[in-house]
């Protein structure tokens, strides 16, 4: 029996209607509630210590569905409520769940549904020069046409008082990174408030999915966030496979995990180097980026792409590994792990580095819990969450996994979680290479039946990635909801920065390293 389902039943009784055979996989509980009780459902979930994983809307002409997905341990539960065009509103759950703050601003901006009781309805993603009535996620909206430009302003949070000044940064930053805008209010060197403004790389991804076929959607998923191409492809494919009941060959699952762990190691190596570099320790950057380059080259030789992009498809994967390839990879790992361990000792012994990374950019456990943080950010702040552990997708159900959890929540903790994860991923890859079953690497995928939904939660290197797919009345993609870990973790950066000095911002930001593209979609 599901804990969350019980909680909903005891709070809402017969008001909650549980739907069988709509939401796949069937382990995800799906219920619909009257609009007036949407908030009560959130209250019941809060009482059960569930996290809010995502909130989104979908047009099911002539209706609009509003969905909230909750997670507790290994359970996911989706609550849906309906509204119509005549009354395009729904009860806000932001007061119960902090991450709903941005989810709802986004629903308001892109779907044109108003969350009643939301404290801040400034547009999000939608910029001031968009026409006010442009709601791209609505079915009537013609996404192929350019939008006219209008005049408008964005209202920033203001701070006043003696000695308070503002520093605007971005969207074009000093380094080779993605664009976003940050606004600091500071007194002297000390930051008293940080406000993020994102949306600069909004490319209309969710809308674009609706014009694609189920098969071609995976290529777009692979480009939601280029550094996480493997995990996003797996998440999209898994959600689709859950709806079609297609049988993915066992070997394909193991190859996916192999790609996923390689992606994790490569990104963590890059991040660790960048964190050290921002603490003025360039030696580490060059050493670690060299190790990363070695991995990318092996990827290219064995799988034909440095980031293993477009190698995961619905039904399986498109490349295999032979004995020769396995040997090559084992030798590569041997070398990387030796060098890496030496570098970890150097990191550990460097007192000047320690001085910069300890106690800097602290996200307390309670704050992490409130924003429902996921992935490395959560695990550095005392939250034991990892879909590979709590919601294991194959083959992670076949072996034991050690997930590092630290409590200090500072830059060091976020770096150290990465260190431990690199070690663990190397171990996993060795195990995979040893134990991978033989067999084919892809199976046939049918079109999903009409009026069904699919779901997947996959632990990418940043954290839990969620895809929710909905097949419309003609079996087409009616909605593809993408929730990158960044959609919640960006809130964590805002919370972690106050009380730090301005020059430490780049360091803190690197330690979070959230995706702009994955957030802006």
């Amino acid at each position: 029996m599901s804990m969350l389902k019980d909680a909903i039943i005891s709070e809402l009784g017969s008001d909650a209607k549980f739907l069988d055979n709509y939401q796949h996989p069937l382990s995800v509980v799906f219920c619909s509630v009257p609009k007036a009780r949407f908030l009560d459902a959130a209250k019941a979930m809060k009482k059960s210590y569930a996290f809010l994983a995502a909130e989104w809307a979908a047009e099911e002409t002539p209706w609009f569905g509003i969905f909230a997905c909750y997670r507790w341990m290994n359970e996911y539960l989706i609550v849906k409520t309906l509204t119509t065009m005549d009354d395009p509103t729904f009860p806000s759950i932001t007061k119960k769940y902090l991450p709903a703050y941005r989810f709802e601003r986004q629903i308001h901006s892109l779907m044109g549904l108003t969350p009643l009781g939301h404290p801040d309805l400034r547009p999000w993603i939608k910029f001031e020069d968009w026409p006010e009535n442009a709601y791209p996620l609505r079915k009537k909206f013609d996404a192929s046409k350019p939008m006219p430009y209008v005049k408008g302003d964005y209202e920033w949070v203001k701070a006043e008082g003696e000695g308070v000044y503002e520093i605007p940064v971005g969207p074009v930053h000093a380094g080779i990174i993605e664009p976003g805008h940050f606004r600091f209010q500071a007194v002297g060197e000390m930051v008293i408030n940080l406000e993020e403004r994102l949306g600069y790389v909004h490319k209309g991804i969710e809308k674009l999915f609706e014009s694609l076929s189920w098969q071609s959607g995976v290529r777009l998923a692979a480009r939601v966030s280029g550094d996480t191409t493997v995990a996003h492809s797996i998440a999209y494919s898994t959600a689709l496979e859950s709806m079609t009941g297609c049988v993915v060959p066992e070997r394909a699952y193991w190859l996916r995990a192999l790609f996923l762990e390689r992606e994790r190691i490569a990104n963590h190596l890059g991040d660790l180097g960048a964190i050290c570099n921002d603490a003025a320790f360039a030696f580490m950057l060059y050493q670690l980026s060299y190790l990363k380059e070695i991995m990318l080259r092996t990827n290219h030789r064995l799988f034909g792409h440095r980031f293993i992009m477009d190698r995961v498809m619905p039904g399986g994967v498109t490349v295999d590994i032979d004995e020769e390839g396995k040997r090559e990879m084992l030798a590569e790992l041997e070398r990387i792990s030796k060098d890496f361990e030496r570098l970890v000792v150097i990191y550990d012994e460097s007192s000047s580095l320690e001085d910069r990374v300890r106690e800097t950019g602290r996200l307390a456990a309670e704050q992490a819990r409130q924003i429902c943080a996921v992935g490395i950010v959560a695990r550095a702040s005392g939250l034991n969450v990892d879909c590979r552990l709590f919601n294991p997708f194959p083959p992670y159900d076949k072996f034991k996994l050690n997930v590092p959890v630290l409590i200090s929540g500072d830059v060091h903790a976020r770096a150290w979680v990465r260190v431990e994860e690199i070690r663990e991923s190397i171990r996993i890859i060795r195990f995979i290479l040893e134990s991978m079953p033989e067999g084919s690497i892809s199976g046939a995928v049918d079109k999903p039946p009409s009026n069904t939904a699919g779901f997947a939660a996959i632990e990418g290197w940043r954290g839990e990635i969620i895809y929710w797919l909905q097949a419309g009345p003609n079996g087409e993609i009616n909605r593809c909801m993408v929730r990158d870990p960044s959609a919640v973790n960006w809130l964590g950066l805002e919370q972690a920065i106050p009380d730090n000095i301005v020059p430490d911002f780049p360091l803190c930001n690197k330690s979070f390293n959230q995706s702009y593209s994955g957030h802006d979609l």
Partner: protein
């Protein structure tokens, strides 16, 4: 400290000497030409400003890799600058998102003449998978003039070096 020195000695110089990049035959030629071109046209120093105009971040990772010890683009006199005001060349990635249009135009205007603009990646060349829509304006040349195009999704670092050279020869 002693550990750091040891590790540096153990690693040695990993930058691939031009003649060693045999696997990527092309590079041998390109690299020496690149060095010459930078010497000739920019007196040994080419300042590049990278602008992400809407990319998925894949292209950024590969541009980053140009700085790693294997490609070590600084040896050709190429370096990345923090401000467009010192830049000789703009490397622009991504389809231009509507929300980045103004920022890209401003960056372009802030770059002193003469300037070279290189579109990096399939998206920057023609909009790629994102094409043209309410949110994406397609390729970079729909917004600012482009001198050279480097295709690939994303283009590997060796391909990037090739493309930069091509741009210098224009």
């Amino acid at each position: 400290m002693i550990r750091i020195l040891r590790q540096i000695i153990r690693t040695g110089i990993v930058t691939e000497p031009l003649e060693v990049m045999r696997a990527e035959e092309d590079i041998v030629r390109i690299s020496s030409e690149l060095e010459d071109a930078v010497k000739k046209r920019f007196r040994g120093s080419l300042a590049i400003r990278q602008v992400d105009a809407g990319s998925c971040n894949g292209c950024e990772l590969e541009i980053h890799a140009l700085n790693n010890p294997v490609y070590n683009c600084e040896r050709f006199g190429i370096h990345f600058t923090a401000s467009p005001r010192f830049a000789d060349m703009l490397l622009v990635t991504g389809p231009v998102s509507r929300n980045m249009e103004i920022a890209l135009k401003r960056t372009y205007d802030a770059t002193p003449l003469p300037k070279l603009v290189v579109a990096v990646g399939d998206c920057a060349c023609n909009g790629g998978i994102f094409g043209k829509s309410y949110a994406s304006l397609g390729g970079v040349d729909n917004v600012v003039p482009v001198d050279a195009y480097i295709s690939g999704c994303p283009p590997a670092p060796s391909v990037l070096l090739h493309g930069i050279l091509k741009a210098l020869k224009i």
